[in-house]
C-alpha cells in the first residue's frame, strides 16, 4: 500500500519543463513553507514532487532603471533586504518583512507566495498595486498575466499544472510615487493577515494622477479595489475624499468569517486601513520611507 513517491530536482528550467511536459501531476516545490506544512505527517498524500529550488535562473533580481524583474525563487528576506527595492518600492519590502518570521522569510519564495494563491498572500497587494505582471513558462512556451487577473479563487490561479512561475516584472512609476502597506494580524510576528492593504499613489501637481489599491484577506482573491480607486483618481491631495473612499472600500470587499477574524471586522478595519494609510502617504511628501 505504500506508494513509491516520485521526487525530481532538476538543475535547469528546461529540464523542469520537460518533466512537467511528460507528467503534469508533479507538485511544484520551492521553499516548502506552505506545502511542507500542508503535508506535514502525510508525505504519502503529496504524490510526485518537482523540487525547483535548484533553478538558478529563477533566483535573479534584475533592476534596470525603473524596470524591475524578480525571479520566482526570490525569497521574502531577499526582497525585504534589497536596498534598491527599499528605495523604489518600500511597501513591497514592508510586506515581505511582515511575513512570518526570519526562518519563513528566508525559505519562502515570491513564486510560491503567488502559486499558493492565498487571499492573505502578503506580497500580492503591493505587487498588484504597482501593476506587476506575472510570468509563466510551460512546455508550450511563455505566457504572462496582469497579476490582478492571475488569481481566480482561494488556492486557484490561471497557471496550468504544467507551467512554472518564473517571476514578476513591473515598472516603478516615475515622479512623485507614494506607497504604503498596512497589515492587521493577530500578533506581531508569525501572523497571517486578517486584513491588509497596499496603496500606490502617483501624484502630480498636488493631485492624484494614478492610484492603485489592493487588499488582502478580504475577498476570495487578493482584491484590486477599482471602484475605490475611481473615487480617489484625480482628487486634490489636500482634500482627498477619505470617508467616501473608505466607505466604498468596505463595500468593495467581500470578506468571510474564519478562525482569524469576522467578516464585519475585516470590512470595518479595511476602511480604517485606508484612512490610516492615506494619511501616511500624504505625509510622505514624495520621499519614500522603508518599512
Amino acid at each position: 500500500m505504500l506508494i513509491d513517491l516520485g521526487y525530481r530536482a532538476p538543475d535547469s528550467l528546461e529540464e523542469a519543463l520537460e518533466i512537467l511536459g511528460e507528467d503534469s501531476s508533479f507538485l511544484i516545490l520551492a521553499g516548502g513553507t506552505d506545502l511542507l506544512v500542508k503535508y506535514f505527517d502525510a508525505r504519502e498524500k503529496m504524490g510526485n514532487v518537482l523540487d525547483i529550488s535548484r533553478l538558478e535562473e529563477l533566483k535573479k533580481i534584475v533592476i534596470e532603471g525603473e524596470k524591475i524583474f524578480l525571479g520566482a525563487l526570490t525569497t521574502h528576506e531577499e526582497i525585504y533586504r534589497n536596498p534598491d527595492l527599499q528605495k523604489k518600492v518600500p511597501f513591497l519590502c514592508r510586506a515581505a518583512k511582515s511575513v512570518g518570521a526570519p526562518q519563513i522569510r528566508n525559505q519562502g519564495t515570491l513564486g510560491g507566495n503567488m502559486a499558493n494563491a492565498s487571499p492573505a498572500a502578503d506580497l500580492a497587494p503591493p505587487l498588484i498595486a504597482v501593476g506587476a505582471r506575472i510570468l509563466l513558462a510551460g512546455p508550450d512556451g511563455e505566457r504572462s498575466f496582469n497579476l490582478d487577473e492571475f488569481f481566480t479563487g482561494p488556492g486557484k490561479t490561471r497557471k496550468n499544472p504544467n507551467e512554472i512561475i518564473t517571476g514578476v516584472e513591473f515598472n516603478v512609476p516615475v515622479g512623485d510615487f507614494r506607497n504604503t502597506f498596512l497589515k492587521v494580524g493577530q500578533r506581531r510576528a508569525l501572523a497571517i493577515a486578517v486584513a491588509s492593504l497596499a496603496i500606490a499613489l502617483s501624484c502630480r501637481q498636488g493631485k492624484v494622477e494614478e492610484v492603485r489599491l489592493s487588499a488582502g484577506s478580504v475577498a476570495p482573491i487578493p482584491l484590486r479595489a477599482r471602484e475605490t480607486e475611481k473615487i480617489l483618481q484625480g482628487q486634490k491631495l489636500d482634500n482627498l475624499p477619505l470617508e467616501k473612499a473608505a466607505d466604498q472600500l468596505e463595500k468593495e470587499a467581500s470578506p468571510i468569517d474564519d478562525i482569524r477574524g469576522t467578516r464585519v471586522y475585516r470590512a470595518r478595519v479595511l476602511g480604517n486601513l485606508l484612512r490610516k494609510g492615506l494619511q501616511e502617504v500624504l505625509s510622505q511628501e514624495g520621499v519614500s520611507e522603508n518599512g
Binding site: 500500500m1 505504500l2 506544512v37 505527517d41 502525510a42 508525505r43 504519502e44 518570521a101 492587521v184 493577530q186 500578533r187 506581531r188 510576528a189 508569525l190 501572523a191 497571517i192 486578517v194 478562525i259 482569524r260 477574524g261 469576522t262 464585519v264 471586522y265 470595518r268 478595519v269 480604517n272 486601513l273 484612512r275 490610516k276
Partner: protein, 769 residues
C-alpha cells in the same frame, strides 16, 4: 550570617545541557528495532460505538499489532481523582480525543497510514458542548448517572460534583451595602502549549516483569500508580525514568502516552515509542477549564466590601481529570486577597463533550483572579475610587481571613506589593487615558493570591535523599520534576548553602521511580516549599553526620572545626579532611554519609458544608501587576507596553528564577488576555494547530520590570513561598483593566480581540455622535 547561594542570581544547573542540545527529551530516544505507535481517535465527540474493525489494518505489511477495546478487556480505567477514562473506549466516545484503536508498526508512516484502514461503525448522539446545557436534568447522560453524588435538580450523569463556601451572613452583608454589583465573567478553553509534544518510550522485561518507560511527567510516583492499576501491575512493576521535560504548565500532570506505551510494550514484547502530533495533543490532552463566575458583591460608599456571593461553573469536558479540584479552587479563591466579612458560594464541575480540562498553571485560581480582579475594577469604577486605592483599602493584612476561614498569621505582603508596584510604575491615582498618535493608552491594576501546596488536608509531602559520594560530591536524589521552573537549581542551592560547598559539587540524580522517592507533583506552586524544605532538612542532617564523623576522626569538638568548600577544616590549623576521605572512612565503618529529609506538613480538610478550615494551605503568595497598554483606534489592536510585576515570595531562593517565572507568567497572561482560546464548537476543535491557536511571540513582549517583596517567615525554606503559578495570575486582568482605563469599555471575558475592541469603539463613537 549572609547567604552564599540562597537569594542570589544563580545559573540554572540544567541550562548548559539544554542549550547545547545534550539534554535528552523522550522524543529523542531512538533504537533501530523499536515499534511506533499511533492511536485512532474518535470520529465523533459523542457516539455509540457499534464496532471497530482492525482486520484490514492488520494485513498491512509492517503493522505488527492493531488492537481495540475487545483485545484488552483486562485493562482498567484510569484517572487522577475519578477512574472515569478508558484506555480504549468500549461502548461510546465522549470527546474527540477518545482512543478507539492502537496500531504498532515498524515505521511511524506505516502506523499512521494503517489508521486509515480501520473501520468504525457508530451512531452519533447529542453533543453537549455547553456546561449550562449539560447540567440540565433533561440533557442526555455523558457518564453513568450517580444519583447519590448529585445535587437535586441537576443532571446526575453530567454533574461531577459541587462544593460550597460559607462564612458570616451574606444577607446581612448585602443589607449593610450602599451598592450591590453583579457581573458574570467567563474564561475559555486554553491550551498550555508546552514546547515538547507528548512522547514516550517503553520496554517490558518478561524476566523481571518490570515495564520501564522514559516519559515526562510532573509526578513520577502518581503516574506510576495510575499506570500500574490500569495495567494490573504492582507499582514496582512500573518504572518511570524522567527524561528532560520540554515544559508542562500542568499538562503533564495527566496521563498521556504512559498507559498506551506500557500496554503495547507488554503486548508486543518490543521497545515501543509513541509521539503525539501537536494537533493530536491539543484535541486529546487536558485544557484549562472554561469557568463561568457569577458574582454579587456588596460595598459601602467608602469602599468597604460587606458581602460577596459567588456561583462558579466549570466545564471539565469529557473526563474529570483534576477538574473537581480545579473548579473548587476557583471557588475557594473567589474573592482574591481582599477582606470580605460575609461570604457565600457554590461551585459545579460539569461533564461535557468538549476536550477534557485539568491542571493548568493556576489550577482554577487563574480564572478566579481574572474574575475577582474584573469585579474589583468594576466596583472601583462604580464608586469612583481609584482602582489601586480600592484594592489597597480592602487588601489582606496579618489577621485577615481567607475565603476558607484561614486566619493569616504570617507572610502577608500584598499591601507592600501594591505600594512597590505603584512606586516603580510611577502610578498616578485617578489617571485618565491619553491619546498619542492615534493610539489610546491606559493603565490597569491587578493583584492576586494563591494558596501554595495541595492543601485541604490532601497528603502532600516530599522526600530528598543525600549522599556524599566517593569523589566527595553531594548526590541529591529527588523525584521532583524540573519542568523548566528551576527546582533542581533551588535544591542544589539549598544543599550547597547548608553544607557551605560550591554548587558544582552538588549533583542531581535523574528522577526515577526506582531510585528516587516521592516528591509529589511539580504543581500547586509547591516544589520550592516542599522539596526545598526536604532538601534543607536532609542537608542539615547530613551536616550533622559529617560533624559527627569528623569529631570522631579529629577527636575534636564541633566548634573547633567547620565544613567549607568540600573539606572539614580544623580552625586555626592546617588540618583538613576532604569530604571524599570522610565519606570513605564512614563507608568503611558501615555508617555511610547519607541523610534524608522529609517535609510533610499538616493541612485541614475544609468543612464540606462551608469550606471552612483552620489551616487550609501552608502559605499564600501574593502578586501585583500594573500594566500599560496602547490601543490602535484604527484596528482595535492592543499592544502591551509595560508591565511592573511585584510578587511577594516570602524569601527569594534564586533571584533570576523568580524573575524568569514572573516574565514567563506575564507573557502567558498576555496570551490569555489577547489571543488564546481553543475554539471548540459542538465538541470539535477549530484551531488545533499553532497557526490558528496563537500565543505571543518575542515581538509581542512588553517591557517587564519585576521587583520582589520579601515578606519572609513563610513555610518554605528560609521563609520562602512559591511563585510559579502566582506569577501568571494578575497578568491577564491587569491588561483587560488597562483596556478599560484606555477606552472606558469593560470586557467580562478573555481573550479580548481587536474585532471586539474596534466594534465597541465604533459603537460608542456613533452613540456619542
Amino acid at each position: 550570617m549572609t547567604n552564599k547561594f540562597v537569594g542570589k542570581r544563580i545559573d540554572r544547573v540544567d541550562a548548559r545541557d539544554k542549550v547545547t542540545g545534550k539534554a535528552l527529551y523522550s522524543a529523542d530516544f531512538y533504537q533501530e528495532d523499536m515499534l511506533y505507535l499511533k492511536v485512532l481517535r474518535a470520529p465523533h465527540p459523542h457516539a455509540r460505538i457499534n464496532s471497530v474493525d482492525v482486520t484490514n489494518a492488520r494485513k498491512i505489511p509492517g503493522v505488527v499489532m492493531a488492537i481495540t477495546a475487545k483485545d484488552i478487556a483486562w485493562v482498567k480505567n484510569f484517572g487522577m481523582i475519578f477512574k472515569d477514562q478508558e484506555v480504549l473506549v468500549r461502548e461510546k466516545t465522549r470527546y474527540m480525543g477518545d482512543a478507539l484503536a492502537i496500531v504498532a508498526a515498524e515505521t511511524p508512516a506505516i502506523a499512521r497510514q494503517a489508521l486509515d484502514y480501520i473501520e468504525v461503525d457508530y451512531e452519533p448522539l447529542q453533543v453537549l458542548s455547553d456546561p449550562l446545557q449539560a447540567m440540565d436534568k433533561k440533557a442526555p447522560y455523558i457518564h453513568e448517572p450517580r444519583e447519590e453524588n448529585c445535587e437535586p435538580g441537576y443532571n446526575p450523569g453530567n454533574l461531577l460534583c459541587s462544593h460550597r463556601l460559607e462564612r458570616g451572613d451574606v444577607e446581612k452583608g448585602f443589607a449593610e451595602a450602599d451598592k450591590i454589583i453583579e457581573n458574570e465573567i467567563r474564561t475559555p478553553h486554553v491550551e498550555h502549549v508546552a514546547l515538547q509534544p507528548e512522547a514516550g518510550v517503553a520496554k517490558y522485561d518478561k524476566d523481571t516483569g518490570v515495564c520501564t518507560m522514559w516519559v515526562a511527567t510532573q509526578w513520577l510516583h502518581d503516574i506510576q500508580a495510575d499506570v500500574a492499576q490500569a495495567l494490573n501491575l504492582k507499582a514496582e512493576q512500573v518504572q518511570i525514568i524522567q527524561p528532560a521535560i520540554g515544559g508542562a504548565f500542568g499538562k503533564r500532570e495527566d496521563v498521556s502516552v504512559h498507559i498506551i506505551i506500557g500496554l503495547m510494550s507488554i503486548l508486543t514484547g518490543r521497545l515501543v515509542k509513541m509521539e503525539m502530533t501537536r494537533e493530536e495533543l491539543m484535541i486529546t490532552q487536558n485544557k484549562r477549564h472554561p469557568i463561568i463566575f457569577r458574582y454579587k458583591t456588596g460595598v459601602k460608599k467608602d469602599g468597604t466590601i460587606t458581602a460577596w456571593e459567588a456561583e462558579v461553573i466549570g466545564d471539565t469536558g469529557a473526563y474529570a481529570s483534576t477538574g473537581s479540584a480545579v473548579v473548587h479552587q476557583a471557588l475557594y479563591m473567589c474573592t482574591g486577597p481582599y477582606n470580605v466579612p460575609h461570604l457565600k458560594g457554590v461551585s459545579y464541575t460539569v461533564y461535557t463533550n468538549n476536550t477534557y480540562a485539568g491542571a493548568m498553571r493556576g489550577f482554577g485560581a487563574t480564572q478566579a483572579a481574572f474574575a475577582y480582579e474584573t469585579q474589583m475594577d468594576c466596583i472601583a469604577a462604580e464608586l469612583g475610587i481609584d482602582p489601586l486605592e480600592f484594592r489597597r483599602k480592602n487588601a489582606y493584612e496579618l489577621g485577615s481571613i481567607t475565603p476558607n476561614g484561614q486566619i493569616l498569621t504570617t507572610s502577608v505582603g500584598i499591601k507592600e506589593t501594591l505600594d512597590k508596584a505603584a512606586e516603580i510604575f510611577g502610578y498616578e491615582p485617578g489617571r485618565l487615558s491619553k491619546e498619542v498618535n492615534g493610539k489610546i493608552r491606559g493603565v490597569g491594576v491587578s493583584s492576586s493570591m494563591f494558596g501554595c501546596g495541595y492543601g485541604e488536608g490532601f497528603p502532600d509531602h516530599s522526600i530528598v535523599d543525600l549522599e556524599v559520594t566517593r569523589e566527595g560530591k553531594i548526590l541529591v536524589r529527588s523525584a521532583a520534576a524540573d519542568v523548566g521552573q528551576g527546582i533542581l537549581t533551588v535544591v542544589c542551592q539549598i544543599v550547597a548553602e547548608v553544607l557551605d560547598i560550591p554548587m558544582d559539587l552538588v549533583e542531581m540524580a535523574p528522577g526515577d521511580t526506582h531510585a528516587t522517592r516521592n516528591a509529589g507533583s511539580t504543581s500547586a506552586t509547591r516544589q520550592t516549599i516542599f522539596s526545598g524544605n526536604a532538601a534543607k532538612l536532609a542537608a542539615e542532617e547530613l551536616l550533622g553526620k559529617i560533624y559527627h564523623r569528623a569529631s570522631l576522626e579529629l577527636s575534636k569538638h564541633h566548634p573547633q572545626f567547620l565544613v567549607r568548600d568540600g573539606e572539614v577544616v580544623l580552625q586555626g590549623t592546617e588540618t583538613r579532611i576532604s569530604l571524599a576521605q570522610l565519606a570513605r572512612i564512614s563507608r568503611e565503618k558501615g555508617d555511610p554519609l547519607q541523610a534524608e529529609g522529609c517535609y510533610f506538613p499538616r493541612t485541614d480538610v475544609p468543612d464540606e458544608a462551608t469550606g471552612q478550615g483552620r489551616l487550609v494551605y501552608v502559605a499564600y503568595t501574593f502578586n501585583t501587576h500594573i500594566t500599560e497598554v496602547e490601543i490602535d483606534k484604527y484596528t482595535g489592536e492592543t499592544k502591551v507596553l509595560r508591565v511592573v510585576a511585584v510578587p511577594d515570595v516570602g524569601r527569594v531562593i534564586n533571584r533570576v528564577g523568580v524573575e524568569g517565572q514572573s516574565e514567563g507568567g506575564t507573557v502567558m497572561g498576555l496570551g490569555m488576555a489577547l489571543m488564546e482560546k481553543q475554539v471548540i464548537e459542538e465538541g470539535i476543535t477549530k484551531n488545533a494547530d499553532l497557526s490558528t491557536y496563537l500565543i505571543p511571540t518575542s515581538l509581542d513582549m512588553p517591557e517587564i520590570i519585576t521587583d520582589i517583596v520579601e515578606s519572609g517567615d513563610a513555610a518554605g525554606p528560609y521563609g520562602a513561598k512559591g511563585v510559579g503559578e502566582p506569577a501568571l495570575l494578575p497578568a491577564a486582568p491587569a491588561i483587560i483593566n488597562a483596556i478599560y482605563n484606555a477606552t472606558g469599555i469593560r470586557f467580562y471575558h478573555t481573550p479580548v480581540t481587536p474585532d471586539e475592541i474596534l466594534q465597541a469603539l465604533q459603537a460608542r463613537a456613533s452613540k456619542n455622535f
